[in-house]
Amino acid sequence: MILALAVPARAEPLPVREVAKGVYLYQGAHGEATAENHGGIANIGFVVGDASVAVIDSGGSAHQGRRLHEAIRQVTDLPIRYVINTHVHPDHIFGNAAFLADEPDFVGHAKLPRAVAARGAYYLEGLKQRLGSASEGSEVVPPSLTVAERLDLDLGDRVLRLTAHRTAHTDHDLSVYDAVTGTLFAGDLLFRERVPVVDGSLKGWLNVMSELRAIEARRVVPGHGTPTADWPAALDRQESYLRLLRDEIRAVIRDGGTMEQAVASVAAAERDAWLLFDDYNPRNVVTAFTELEWE
C-alpha cells in the first residue's frame, strides 16, 4: 500500500504509432529540449513480443518516460522486460526512471556504464537547469545488462538483435534489429532532417555506416527524424554531410588553417539541407577538427 502511494500521478499516454506490426514509435520534435516538450526530442519506442515488451530509448525526462509507459499499457499488459538505451545522451536515457518499478534489465553497449558514470551527473544537472520542474523524477539509471558485440533478446516468438558498434556517433552506440518486421532502430547512428551531431568519431561513424548498409532491413527508425522504408538509401544524406565535413576540414588542416577558419567555412554547402544546422554544425567542426588534426 505504501508503494502504491509512491507511484506518480497518471501521465497522459504518448501518441505513439505502430510503424510495423508490434513496433511502436513516438517521433521526437526537431528542436532543443525544453520544459514544454519535457526533453522529448528523440525518437523513442517499444516492441511487443508474445511474452514481454522491450523499450528502445526511454525519452528525455522521467515525465516523458511515464508517458511512454502509459502508451505501452494502452497496447499491452505484458511485462516490460527490457529498457534498451542506444547511447548515453539525455534525450535517450532520462526516461529510464519511469520504468524502475517494472524491474526490467536496462540494456546498453559495454562502454555505456563508463559513459553514464562520466557524464550522467553532468547531464542531469544540465537537464534540471534546462527543464526546471519538468525534469522532476529524472535520474541516472545505469545499465544492468551490457552488450560487447551482439546480444539477442527474446520477447517471446520475437528476437531483437542488439549490435554494439565501434566509435561513431558516440563511443558506445547500440542498434536494435527486429527480425520479425525487418525494422532497424539505428539510434543516433542515423539522423534525418535534423543535422547529425558528432560526439564520438567522424571517421569511425563513416565506417560504421558502411557496416550498417549490409543490414537487410525493411525499414529504419532513425534516432531523430522520420522512419523510412528507403533503406539503405536513407543513409545517403547523412553520409554526404559527414564526408563533406571530413573532406573540407582535412583541406583546411592541409592548408595550415585554424579551427576558427574551419568553423567559418566547412560544410556551408549543406546548410540548407538540415534543420538546426547553425546550432550544431560549428560544434561538429570543432569536434571533428580535433580528431582529424592527429592524422
Binding site: 563508463r114 562520466a118 553532468y122 576558427e260 592527429w294
Partner: protein, 279 residues
C-alpha cells in the same frame, strides 16, 4: 625549473587556492555568480598588485568567439601588435578567464626569438566571462586586451569523446610546420600534445568521484639553444593542448619540446627544421 609566473603566485598556488571555490562553481550557478560578483578586482590585485595596466591597443590583441561552439574547446588567439625586437619585446602574456575555477589559464613567456609572438590555444570556459590577455613588455609595462565570451560548463564537461583512444595516445606530440620554412623570418608552427588535461571537475568513469586534476604544467619550446616560448599551463587549457606559435630560425636546427605534467611525467621530442635560405 624557474617559475616565471606572476608576482607572489605561481599558477599552481593560484589553482589550489581557487580549487575549492571551483567545485561550487562547477555547474550553472557560476553563470549567476558571474553576473553578481566581478572577480576581476581581486584577481587583478593578486596577479599584478597596484601596477598600472594600459589598454592593449598596439601591443596585444585578443581574439575569441563571442559565443563558444564547444565550451570545452574554445579557440583563443593572443597576437602581439608590436614586433619582437631585442630592444623591446613582449616578455609574458597571461591568459585569464575571470569566471573559471582557476582563472589563470596559462602564462606564456617569450623572447626576441618568438617571431611574431602570435599564440593560439584552446581553453575551457565554465561560465559567461571576460577573457583577458595581459602582456608584459621587456621594459616592465603591462597592457591588457579583453573579450567577453558566452560559454558554460567547459571545465566540468566530460572528458574525451573516445576515451580509449585518448589514453592510448597520452604524451604523444605532433608538430605542424608551415612550409617552406624561411630563414631569418617568423615561421608559424602548431604543437599538439595528447594529454587528458583533467580539470579536477570531471567525474571519474568508474568511481563516480571527481577525477583528480592532472594536466600539462610546463611546456618549453626551443630552437637550437634558444628558448622560443615557455607555457605554464593549468586546468583551463583544453584536453590535448594545442599551441600555435612562431619562431625565427637563423639556420638549420631542431625544434625541441619538453612537456612536464602535474605528475612529473616528462615528454620530449625534437623535429628537424630545414629552412630555405634566401627565401
Amino acid at each position: 625549473m624557474t617559475r616565471l609566473a606572476v608576482p607572489h603566485f605561481t599558477l599552481r598556488d593560484l589553482w589550489l587556492s581557487t580549487f575549492a571555490a571551483g567545485l561550487a562553481l562547477a555547474y550553472g550557478a557560476a553563470v549567476v555568480a558571474a553576473a553578481e560578483d566581478d572577480p576581476w578586482p581581486d584577481l587583478r590585485e593578486a596577479l599584478f598588485e597596484d601596477r598600472q595596466i594600459q589598454p592593449g591597443d598596439g601591443v596585444i590583441r585578443l581574439e575569441a568567439p563571442y559565443r563558444a561552439y564547444d565550451a570545452a574547446i574554445v579557440p583563443i588567439t593572443l597576437a602581439a601588435e608590436m614586433p619582437q625586437t631585442p630592444e623591446r619585446y613582449i616578455k609574458t602574456i597571461t591568459l585569464i578567464i575571470d569566471n573559471n575555477p582557476a582563472p589563470v589559464a596559462a602564462v606564456f613567456t617569450m623572447t626576441p626569438h618568438s617571431g611574431t609572438a602570435k599564440i593560439s590555444t584552446r581553453v575551457r570556459i565554465n561560465a559567461y566571462t571576460n577573457v583577458r590577455a595581459v602582456a608584459e613588455t621587456s621594459d616592465g609595462m603591462l597592457y591588457m586586451a579583453t573579450k567577453f565570451v558566452k560559454a558554460s560548463g567547459g571545465c566540468s564537461a566530460p572528458a574525451s569523446k573516445d576515451q580509449d583512444k585518448a589514453m592510448a595516445r597520452l604524451g604523444r606530440m605532433k608538430l605542424k610546420q608551415s612550409t617552406p620554412v624561411r630563414l631569418g623570418q617568423p615561421n608559424e608552427a602548431q604543437l599538439l600534445i595528447s594529454h587528458p588535461n583533467y580539470s579536477g571537475l570531471q567525474m571519474d568513469q568508474v568511481t563516480r568521484h571527481y577525477i583528480p586534476a592532472y594536466f600539462v604544467q610546463d611546456v618549453t619550446i626551443s630552437y637550437g639553444n634558444e628558448t622560443i616560448m615557455t607555457v605554464e599551463g593549468a586546468i583551463s587549457l583544453s584536453e590535448d593542448p594545442s599551441f600555435h606559435f612562431s619562431f625565427v630560425p637563423e639556420g638549420p636546427g631542431a625544434l625541441t619540446v619538453e612537456v612536464r605534467d602535474t605528475e612529473d611525467a616528462v615528454f620530449t621530442r625534437s623535429w628537424p627544421v630545414e629552412p630555405e635560405a634566401g627565401s
